[in-house]
Each structure stands twice: as C-alpha cells, then as structure tokens.
Subunit: 315 residues, 2 copies
C-alpha cells in the first residue's frame, strides 16, 4: 500500500524532498544536482510529499491548544489530553488529528520498556497509523480489541493492528473472528474459541489501550459498514445510543446500552480492568459520542482537534 511503486524513483523523490525541505535548494538547483529536468524535480518533490516521505512537525506549544488541553484534563478528569491546532474551516478534522497524533503514538512505540498495547480499529486510527514512520519496535506486543472480519466475510477494511505491525515489526495478536455474532449461539461459539479467549485475556492486561470512537447518527459507521442493519440502528438510537467504542454502543451518559446488538460484539469493552484508555478522534460528528464517553469515564486520555476540544469544553 505505501511501499509499492518504483523504488529508484522513490529514492530520487526522497532525495529531492531532502534537498528541497532540509537543504532549502530551489527546484532548478535540485534538478541540476540530481541531473534531472526542473520539471521532474518538481514532480519528485511533490511525490515525496504525497507518499509521506516528508514528515513535517511543528515544534511549538500553541497557547490556545495548551489551554484547551489543560481545560479538558480538568473538566473531565483526564490523565492525558492533546489538542491539535485547527486546519481551517474547509479541512477535515481528521487531517489535523492524524498529523498530530502520529508523533504521540510514535512516542509510545519508541519507548524501550516492553509494553502491551491494545488497539481498536476505524478510519481515525488508520489515518494516524498512515502518518507514522517505520520504526523498529519489536519490544512491544499489540493485541486487537475487536474482531477483524466483516459481516460479509471480508477482512475489515479499517483494521489497524496489521498496518501498525508493518511499521513497527512488533508481534501482534489480531482477533481473527467476526466483529460481531448474529445470535447468542454464534456469540458463545466465538467467545469460546481459544484464540479469542487468549486475545481478550491479553487485552485485559494491556498497559495502554488506544481506540477510536464512532457516532450513532443515521450514517453511523457501524451501519454504513454493514455491521448492523438499519432497523437495528433505529432501535439503538431509540434506546439512546450516543456513540460507540470498538462497536460497543453507549448512551449519552456513557453507559453501555442494554440491547441485543450490543450483546453480540465479540471484542472487549473499554475500559478493560481499568487499564488506561487513550481515545483519538474529533470533528463535529464525534462531539456527541466524545461527550458521552467522557461523562461515563470510558476513556481517560484524549487526542482531538482544537474545534472539537473547544466545543467539549464550552458546554
């Protein structure tokens, strides 16, 4: 996915990016240096950016964001809060969060002392992983909190643990089983599977748990991705669904709702054993679920964006 393409060309791209961003050369200088046309130099620089070879980080604590972090910690009793500066009105919050959270996650993996890291799934986590560089971190172990098979039998597209394993080389324990069972019997079967039991047991000992969060409006990812039917969605909405973490649906108070669809998720509910849970997510659609999760103390760490943070604080 990220390692396809022409390797020597990528080499040139990396070099062009280095010369442009680190060296501060102009594109015609790069062209001369690398013995290519000015045109190609520009394409190579663009490619380096597009392929994520160029990693930009802003090394300055912007006052407003710091203040929001402090306020989040205080208001919701979080042990950890990070706030990404906003990227302008037209921009997805996801972009800001991904670029911002990646170095945070990187820090976790850079730690030399072996850690057991439990992971959720979803678009947000995927986007964050995408922004992470390749780092050797085989001292850590990773376990998935949630199954990796879609209702249609295909591999869940927003699987995270395999991707991060590609980047870190850490031993990993995906939960190779459907995300949810269709009935009580299937549920019992899945839960009884040895590798499911061991995954869940492992997750219960995690040093850190990292999850995304989903909304439960009419375009809830749980519904859009086919995990629950429209009827089920309506039903849980009626039951007060405000959001979900790892597919487990909770109400506005952060209490997991008592409903069949919520009973058949094979994966674990956070927090597991009071292990610290770090949630990554932001954007208008996630405000409601976040507020609920925070109220119910489902999470004790949050990485979000400035606008979402301000919203969470204000009301």
């Amino acid at each position: 996915m990220s390692d396809d393409g022409d390797v020597p060309a990528q080499d040139i791209a990396a070099r062009a990016g280095w010369l442009y961003y680190v060296g501060g050369l102009r594109q015609d200088q790069i062209a001369e240096e690398l013995g290519i046309s000015r045109q190609r130099a520009q394409r190579m620089v663009a490619r380096a950016v597009a392929e994520g070879l160029v990693r930009v980080r802003i090394d300055h604590p912007i006052a407003e964001c710091l203040e929001l972090e402090r306020a989040l910690r205080q208001k919701f009793g979080l042990s950890r809060a990070r706030v990404a500066p906003r990227l302008g009105p037209g921009q997805e919050a996801l972009r800001a969060i991904a670029s911002f959270a990646a170095p945070e996650l990187e820090r976790v993996f850079r730690d030399q002392t072996p850690k057991l890291i439990a992971l959720g799934t979803g678009r947000t986590l995927r986007a964050v992983i995408e922004q992470m560089p390749t780092i050797a971190a085989s001292q850590h172990k990773m376990v998935s909190l949630i199954g990796n098979v879609s209702p249609d039998g295909s591999a869940s597209f927003y699987e995270v643990i395999m991707r991060i394993a590609d980047k870190t080389g850490a031993p990993h324990y995906p939960m190779s089983v459907p995300v949810m069972a269709r009935d009580a019997e299937e549920f019992a079967t899945y839960r009884a599977l040895p590798h499911v039991q061991s995954s869940r047991a492992l997750a219960a000992q995690a040093d850190i748990t990292i999850v995304g969060i989903g909304q439960m409006a009419d375009d809830a990812p749980l519904f859009m991705d086919g995990f629950i039917t429209e009827a089920e969605l309506r039903a849980v909405q009626k039951a007060g669904a405000a959001g979900e973490i790892c597919g487990h649906i909770f109400d506005a108070d952060g209490q997991y709702i008592d409903h069949p669809v919520n009973a058949f998720m094979v994966g674990s509910r956070v927090p597991v054993n009071d292990n610290p849970v770090l949630c990554i997510g932001g954007g208008v659609s996630k405000i409601k679920p976040l507020r609920a999760a925070l109220r119910g103390r489902l999470i004790d760490g949050l990485i979000t964006d400035e606008i979402t943070a301000a919203e969470l604080i204000s009301r």
Copy 2:
C-alpha cells in the same frame, strides 16, 4: 537564545507553519484563517522555519546512503553508522549532518530507561542540538567529557551540555574547569578537584558517549579557539597530529600522541572503559581525522554525510 522573541507572534508563526506545511493551505488562505494580511502570513511561515518551529524529516532509506552505512560498518567494524544524504556541492556538510543526526540523538533521549550520557563539545554537536526539539527526558543523566572554560577565562562557546539540558531537562554535570592546564602543576591541581574527579568517574560509567571530532590542519579549532598556540600546533603537526577528540590529539593511526599539550587536557580520552563512543562529524576537513580515529578504534559509531562516507570507504 532560541526562546527569546515575541511569544504571541511566535504562536502565530507556529500556527501559520502548521497550516502551511501540515494543512497544505496557501498563504492567502492562511492569512484569511488567521485574520492577518497575506504578507504577514508569508512572514510568519518564513519565521516558523527560521526559528526552527517547523521540523522536517525525510522518512525514506535512500539506497546509496544505506549502502554506505553498511560499508562503513563492515570496513571499520563499527556497531553503528548513519549517513546523511548530501545537500549539494555548495552546502556545508554540517547542515546535512545536523538535520540528520538530531532525530538520532532524539531517539537516545526518548528512551525511557535511564541512561548516563557522556558528551563532548564543538560546533558540530552544537549544530545537532540546535536541531533537536524540546523533549522531557529527565530520566537521563549527562556528564561532560571536557572542561568548559576557555583559556581566556570565558565560558567555552561550543559548550553542549547546558544547551541540551535546556531542551531535555535532564540533570547534567558539566566539568567546570578549564579545558586544559598550562603546566603539570596546574594539571595536577585541576585533576585533583573533587568535582573534576567525580565528573571523570561518571564519564567512565557512561552508557553512551557522544563526541565530535576536530582536524589538526593550520586552522585547527583547537588553535583557532586559542586552546593551543601556533607553536604548539606546529609541534604536534610535526609529531603527526591527524585529529583530536575532546582536545586529545591523535596521529594517523589513531594513537594519542605523546606531547606536552596532549598531557594537560583535563577531560577524558575516549574510549573510556571501552564504553561505546558515537562520533558525529563530516566534511572534507574531517576525513583525515575520521580515518585516523576509525583506524585506531577510538570510536565505534559514526554519523556522517554521504560525501565523507564515500571518501572514507573509497581509500
């Protein structure tokens, strides 16, 4: 030094840099977003770069550099070698090395397990530190290998340990004594000082030792900075001086030369107790000293640039 200036303006600069490099907005969009003129937006972006708020890293192992690293390790029995891509003919090797070495050094400090880090001094190390972000790393301790007082009594300008302490908050033990004594008596006095003894004892236990390297041509830094006289320089040159590490001068075989100026350096000689020594340096002037240090196995790790590496390999 790096934390002076108008703070709210720096805030805007950081935000502008974020929007420009991470958000990919154009300067007029940034201007609108931040409610400033297009002009000011451009100045703020430039400032963010100038003040080092924007940190760019190229996340791709360029094949030639990897190959040079492998070759260096093999040819000189190094345990660690990193090669920075060249920045074009007109550019200082220092720029390339500093940008490249900073993340490497950052890794050392990110490590959670407490380490004792022994540090040399010099322009190169200073430049590397300058490129490092601020990171809390109070778990580590740092000790200086070399005195911090110039012959004229002023603080040595290329002191490193204080700078890095500013960035990491790590407890540090500078060697508060002149770099070198003028005679045997002074030397004995300095060496006998309790804090010098304890610094040297600490350095002897370092988990990692990080040093620069100096050349001994007519513009040797040891001479330019007034540590040795022109007559002394001539003398050691005649005695075969090929380079110096922490002021200790060695010949082309990496053997410390037997000469009075070399006897009065208060600091330690590497390697101390066979502790691993990482040397950072490159550029044409450093090829001779590096070749000597490598031949004498004074160092067992090297961070340099592509051109220097190629030169070291070729002959």
